[in-house]
Subunit: 120 residues, 2 copies
């Protein structure tokens, strides 16, 4: 497991440290980890964390794209915290390789998770 | 060498694909590669690409933080293009672990490279 950062009080975090960082849900339960990030080339904003959810059995996919704004870094946990639930993952808008070119899918996904978009 | 993206026409790029991607300078010369990214935790913006410059001999450091806005993805090269020169690297504001907490250093560095800041 990668540590989210060697300097939890710093404003900046390395992409290498984000990858592998644990994500905690309700009751500080470890629900999965960040596999990698998806970055908007034009704006330079992180758009999604692609997460693996080892703890949630029976999900349709091994990895799910989660809006980056749905994760919040918590220095005390040395990981990310999210309010996303297993039920939300099961009901998430389905995705394919084309989803990334589909702003409509992106809007639905952000709305589904109650997350603010990375575009304006 | 990692490819910058398997889908050059997509808006989004994986952090795993950015790491190791070649950066080209003037005359399409390979001047180095992206080692990792530094991301602003609060805004979710990519702030810097930490680059290694194998082709530039005699630099003081093995890695340099380059403002992300100084790199532009070029699908035809399958890599990033930058106008940053060896002279700029040699004259860059010196950095240490404290630099990341120092907005003054960050301002100087962006100004030095003629790059727009990731904050407003």
């Amino acid at each position: 497991m990668a540590r989210a950062t060697a300097h939890p009080d710093h404003r900046l975090i390395s992409s290498e440290d984000v990858q592998g960082t644990v994500v905690y849900g309700a009751d500080n339960k470890n629900i999965g980890e960040v596999d990698h990030l998806l970055i908007d080339k034009l704006s330079g904003r992180v758009a999604y964390a692609v997460m693996s959810f080892g703890g949630f059995l029976g999900l349709a996919h091994s990895h799910y794209p989660i809006p980056w704004s749905a994760l919040r870094y918590d220095p005390t946990l040395d990981g990310y915290r999210t309010g996303i639930t297993e039920a939300q993952l099961r009901d998430a808008p389905d995705f394919s390789d084309d989803a990334w070119s589909d702003r409509s899918w992106e809007s639905q996904t952000h709305q589904h998770y109650g997350a603010s978009t990375y575009w304006d």
